[in-house]
């Protein structure tokens, strides 16, 4: 089965149409270096083992995949494979590779490289994060070479989102990496200390220089296979991209305003207000896919399970949460209240059948009373054993927005007579408590798929999943409703009929919203900025928000790279 649990912040959504109409009317200009701010250093230049966002953001420019998801349309489109066909039973995909494609060192790309890449990613000893993506029901997707430019992928069973699996699986140069793989050393290949000339790829750019603490510099890949529309000249338009490593958002803003940076990715809402006052070109893409939620610990050993296991209790807390205030106060109005885990930004899968009950402390109190709770003389909520209801909210110290949301929930629940302790923890300690030791009452987190499709979040919704946050790794579903979710998720995974599949996943959304194992709160908007000098700028809500079409971006006259 596909297993991806993407923690927070990687989001996907179409941007409103027509945002860059003016830009698209320009005649693209060749040359120049685009300067982009990046928060952290890349940890590796090896696409097989990269898990951190900074590395992946750089690597996406250096490598290419067979079938790619267009971040703007959200649909799959040809990458290194120019076409493909699916067998009638949905278990075999035959891909025709583009001819004449060369790696950045000039060596031709063939079916042997595809077979090699697949072998590396599936190698258990390599521990590639992509491996889980290439398994369906724990069985691998196999590949065989039909001829030098044709490969066939065989799936263990039909898989609804099979074409999307190929996105972000970088094709590797067999002639460079095979010796390292055979020696069992591929994980230590292509580190940040490897000379730039040894790193070979099929992407629009190649590595020129890495200056630790300062910048990652990419230059045009002269062998890139895509041609500019209406010409015979190879893309990219840009001579290069320079990722400037600026960990502090304030510094990024100052450099952007002074003209040192052309593009800013995913801004905080305070930064948006600041930039707007400076007259910068800010693009609000609307709600992203990230959803913030309060998750109850429903594990049998949870010390608060006697309260949390009551659906009425969870529903009452959901009713008392002031989502509108959160959107207005924490995100300065650039967020949308949510009652289900699929955000309105996900146009493919959002269901308008999920109820949006209005906030009502009175209704919440009524519900608690019906569930057997009472209030003592001090106004504290007490259970049948006269125990005051108190619990803690675990929240990451690195997320000021979630700290603010927790503070607002604390005040909201005080109106119900519930005492809430906020427990700020460093993110890794928090994850350890949530996924391993299970020593927490509730946790405020955010999740968001790198893809709009439900399958990357299978591990969250299946009761056996390691990131089934309220009660993970169940041998048998603990409740009837979790069993129903399991059945529906497994069914939608192999249903090839899109409308049938949609109905199944809508039902999953309904069950989650009805049972409230998580209280869904808000989805923040995705906001990006550019200095107005970047052509073909078509930001999308899927990671990387602004550079996904880097081969097509160009600089108008007056850019920082001029």
């Amino acid at each position: 089965m596909c297993r991806v649990a993407t923690w927070a912040c990687s989001v996907l959504l179409l941007c409103p149409g027509g945002l860059t109409t003016a830009a698209s009317l320009d005649t693209p200009r060749w040359g120049g270096v685009l300067h982009v701010a990046q928060r952290a250093e890349p940890k590796t230049f090896n696409p097989v083992i990269a898990v951190d966002a900074p590395s992946r953001e750089v690597l996406r420019r250096l490598h290419a995949d067979l079938i790619t998801i267009n971040r703007f349309t959200q649909k799959t489109e040809p990458g290194l494979a120019e076409s493909w066909t699916r067998s009638g039973d949905g278990t075999r995909y035959t891909l025709k590779l583009r001819k004449g494609v060369r790696f950045s060192d000039g060596v031709p790309f063939t079916a042997d490289d595809v077979v090699f890449s697949w072998s590396v990613y599936l190698d258990e000893l390599v521990h590639s994060p992509q491996r889980d993506l290439l398994l369906i029901e724990d069985k691998p997707i196999r590949v065989s070479k039909l001829d030098s430019y044709t490969v066939e992928f065989t799936l263990p069973q039909p898989y609804a989102a099979a074409e999307r699996v190929f996105d972000s699986v970088a094709m590797l140069p067999r002639h460079v990496l095979e010796p390292a793989w055979k020696a069992g050393k591929i994980s230590s290949a292509w580190t940040v200390n490897t000379p730039a000339s040894e790193i070979v790829g099929l992407g629009p750019f190649r590595l020129k220089q890495y200056r630790p603490g300062e910048a990652v510099v990419l230059e045009r890949n002269p062998e890139y296979w895509q041609t500019a529309p209406g010409t015979s000249r190879n893309l990219p338009y840009l001579d290069g991209i320079e990722f400037r490593l600026l960990p502090d958002e304030g510094v990024q803003l100052a450099r952007f305003v002074s003209g040192d940076i052309d593009v800013l990715n995913r801004l905080s809402m305070n930064a948006v207000s600041f930039l707007q006052r400076q007259g910068a070109s800010v693009t609000d893409l609307g709600p992203g896919l990230e959803y913030n939620f309060l998750c109850f610990n429903l594990s049998p050993a949870s010390p608060k399970i006697k309260w949390f296991s009551k659906r009425e209790f969870r529903t009452a807390l959901s009713l008392a949460a002031d989502r509108e205030s959160m959107a207005r106060t924490v995100f300065l109005g650039r967020a949308t209240p949510i009652w289900g885990h699929v955000s309105p930004g996900n146009r493919l899968w959002y269901s308008d059948r999920i109820a949006h009950p209005k906030r009502s402390v009175a209704d919440a109190k009524q519900m608690l009373k019906a569930a057997g709770f009472l209030w003592n003389g001090k106004g504290q909520l007490i259970d049948g054993a006269q125990t005051p209801v108190e619990f803690s909210i675990l929240v990451s110290t690195s997320s000021p927005e979630r700290m603010q949301m927790a503070t607002m929930l604390q005040a909201d629940y005080a109106q119900l007579g519930i005492g809430v302790n906020i427990a700020p923890l460093e993110f890794r300690s928090l994850l350890d408590r949530v996924t391993n030791t299970r020593q927490f009452d509730t946790v405020l987190l955010g999740l968001g798929g790198g893809d709009a499709d439900p399958n990357p979040e299978l591990n969250v919704w299946l009761s056996s999943g390691g990131t089934h946050l309220w009660n993970p790794n169940q041998k048998q579903p603990a409740t009837a409703w979790e069993a129903e979710i399991d059945q529906l998720m497994e069914k939608q995974m192999v249903t090839l009929n899109p409308s049938e599949r949609r109905k199944q996943y809508e039902r999953v959304q309904e069950i989650v919203a009805e049972q409230v194992p998580m209280i869904f709160l808000v989805t923040p908007n995705v906001v990006v900025a550019q200095r107005g000098n970047v052509g073909n700028f078509r930001p999308a809500v899927m990671d990387h928000f602004t550079l996904w079409n880097s081969s097509e971006l160009y600089l108008r006259k007056g850019g920082s790279g001029q």
Binding site: S325, V330, E390, P400, S429
Partner: protein, 272 residues
């Protein structure tokens, strides 16, 4: 001690007293949220404006001051007592325990206290009230801060032990404990007083630092560290300059403390 020094110490003591009782002066409930007036600028009703949740910042500054000052005093007392007890004992007794003490002191001084506290926070039970968490942190800080005053006290005790009047008392057969209490302990009080003035602002700053990293007093309790967090987004200050007011208002405490330390140092030099 001259008049100027006494005045400086009086100002410092006065500021501490006013701030320690800050919660009593707070015009509003510092934790009550009024979300409809969030992030308001200063006005006659809200002198320092309101925060993200519409809470009165001036009230939170005063209530936070009480907690910062009182926790600073408590941690100073604990740290000094531990330092005095350890330094006095090893200085007076000497021998193998002295060597062990010196190594233990080195170890303690080399501890990266911030990381120790972060690690400790991760293993604390989550049900602890915010103030209990902070009290635990400050006690821990006091425990890791004993080494410096202990070394000073040890040096002073070694020095005093060789004085003529101590030798005379020993010759007359006065018990050791009595010699320590009557002749040596009073001589260490000056060192302790000076150390108190040095340690106190450190502990207040420690509380501020912990809260800055989200590890000190947690919401909804007010904390000085929370005001510093606003400075992380320095670009905000162009529009919301009033976020600086509570930070600037902390300065008198630290400045008066610095002046008091200078006054004590000058008085000590003059007495020699």
């Amino acid at each position: 001690m001259n008049g100027s020094a006494k005045a400086r110490l009086s100002v410092f003591a006065g500021i501490i007293l006013v701030l320690a009782a800050g919660a009593l002066w707070a015009p509003y409930n510092p934790i009550e949220q009024h979300r409809d007036i969030s992030n308001s600028p200063p006005s006659a009703l809200h002198w320092f404006g309101t925060d993200d949740y519409g809470r009165d910042v001036f009230s939170r500054f005063l209530a936070g001051a009480s907690w910062s000052v009182l926790s600073g005093v408590a941690a100073t007392v604990v740290g000094l007592f531990l330092g005095w007890a350890a330094g006095g004992l090893v200085g007076f007794k000497g021998g193998k325990i002295d060597a062990l003490f010196l190594r233990l002191g080195d170890l303690t001084l080399s501890l990266p206290w911030l990381y120790v506290v972060i690690g400790l926070r991760a293993i604390l039970p989550l049900d602890l009230k915010p103030r209990a968490v902070l009290a635990t942190m400050l006690l821990l800080l006091a425990f890791v801060s004993w080494a410096r005053p202990a070394r000073l006290v040890r040096g002073m005790v070694l020095n005093l032990s060789e004085r003529g009047y101590v030798e005379a008392a020993r010759a007359f057969g006065v018990p050791e404990w009595r010699i320590f209490v009557r002749h040596i302990f009073p001589g260490t009080l000056g060192v302790l007083a000076a150390q108190a003035l040095v340690l106190f602002p450190r502990f207040v700053l420690a509380e501020v630092t912990l809260s800055f990293f989200g590890l000190g007093v947690s919401e909804p309790e007010p904390s000085w560290g929370a005001f510093i967090i606003a400075l992380k987004q320095a670009y905000l200050l162009r529009e919301q300059w009033w976020r600086l007011l509570p930070v600037l208002s902390m300065l008198p405490l630290f400045l008066s403390c610095a002046f008091a330390v200078r006054a004590v140092a000058n008085a000590y030099r003059a007495s020699r």
